[in-house]
């Protein structure tokens, strides 16, 4: 073969292409490894998860505290004194919870306490404003968080009209009892936002959310997309309201008043 510039360039081109193919091939071979993924066999599935809260059945501070205790112990949520506390589910009075406040309300509703938690909205503002996609909406309607990606910018807290999100101003582990941790669930670290996750990790094993289990029927959880589900039956039988409907976020948590 003649040593011409033309032949040299041809040879270099073929060699470069070969190198690219070889490295791509080896990369594919390793990440594949012949494995596959699937959903757990006993997972609870739904088109759209939702919750209905009977305010007659859990309308006292003590009743709601029992719910938050159940939730917070399962999810390693600390109890921090002062105004930097972290909460996933908590109690508030009518005027805090709803924006349909009327004059001369009856005393029962005025003094009643209401269970508040993340509404898992159909149009979640927190998801829209999150710059890192740490907060995202799953296909089954659950608004979940990936704490690995949260950079603590707190846009979601500004975006959420329900105050459902808490920021970790300090290392939450300082306020957790190491002997009472749930070792099947992580804690959070300083500088991330957190909130209720509708117990996705429990639903994956076919279990009901921790607060629903602790509520003795005051809270009902189910598939809003299934016309025959218990939650849809309750919605047909009772008049219910949702929090701040004028925001158009379409919450997935309903209240029987």
């Amino acid at each position: 073969m003649n040593h011409t510039r033309r032949n040299f360039l041809k040879f270099m081109g073929v060699a470069a292409a070969g190198l690219c193919a070889a490295s791509a091939g080896s990369a594919l071979a390793v990440s594949g490894a012949g494995s596959s993924i699937k959903e757990p066999a006993n997972a609870a599935n739904a088109k759209r998860w939702g919750m209905i809260i009977d305010t007659q059945k859990c309308g006292t501070k003590e009743a709601i505290e029992a719910l938050s205790k159940a939730c917070h112990s399962v999810h390693n949520v600390p109890d921090i004194p002062g105004n930097q506390n972290v909460k996933w589910i908590w109690a508030a009075k009518f005027s805090e919870a709803f924006d349909q406040h009327n004059n001369y309300m009856d005393e029962a509703h005025e003094t009643c306490q209401y269970v508040l938690l993340c509404n898992h909205c159909t149009n979640p503002p927190c998801v829209r404003v999150c710059p890192t996609k740490a907060t995202y909406k799953r296909a089954d309607g659950i608004v979940a968080m990936d704490y690995h990606r949260c950079i603590g910018c707190r846009y979601c807290m500004a975006g959420c009209p329900y105050g459902a999100r808490s920021f970790n101003f300090m290392d939450p582990r300082k306020y957790l009892d190491p002997s009472k941790l749930n070792k099947e669930f992580p804690t959070r670290m300083r500088g991330v936002v957190e909130k209720c996750n509708f117990c996705v990790e429990r639903l994956a094993h076919g279990k009901q959310p921790a607060c629903v289990e602790a509520s003795n029927g005051g809270l009902v959880f189910g598939d809003l997309g299934d016309a025959n589900s218990e939650i849809r039956k309750l919605l047909r039988e009772h008049y219910t309201i949702r929090r701040k409907p004028s925001h158009g976020t379409e919450p997935g948590v309903y209240y029987i008043i």
Binding site: S31, A33, A144, D146, P178, R188, A204
Partner: protein, 129 residues
């Protein structure tokens, strides 16, 4: 042939070589690096994939697991031999590898990497107050 400024150049070269070769001189006679001895699980012989795969790719695997479990809701990993595992650092990995200090930390310390897994995930030993 005459080397202009020869004294300075030679001195400079000697100093440069001295500095450049200092690490070799410092480490001369010391034992070569050996991979740390890890404390392997007693009840399990095989990890979810081959030893070589786990050694080189466990970080990519964990990265994939997180997205599959959290975002896609697919929490079961079927390995190349058809065996099923729940994708969970705390519930699967650390159930066998029950000692973070004797397993994870050994290589991570040697490689001078500090992954922040344990800022949130609870190590099998539990947390200290």
């Amino acid at each position: 042939m005459k080397l202009y400024n020869g004294g300075k150049i030679i001195t400079g070269l000697v100093i440069f070589l001295g500095v450049f070769l200092a690490p070799f001189a410092y480490n001369a006679g010391k034992a070569a690096y050996t991979q740390p001895k890890l404390k392997m699980p007693e009840n399990e012989k095989e990890c979810i994939e081959s030893k070589e795969f786990m050694r080189t790719k466990h970080m990519q695997l964990l990265n994939d697991w997180r997205d599959w479990a959290l975002r896609d809701g697919k929490r079961v990993y079927v390995n190349s031999k058809g065996k099923e595992f729940e994708m969970s650092l705390q519930k699967t990995c650390m159930k066998c590898h029950t000692n973070k200090a004797e397993f994870c930390d050994k290589c991570h310390n040697d490689a001078a990497v500090s992954p922040y897994c344990w800022d949130c995930h609870i190590q099998p030993e539990g947390l200290k107050k």
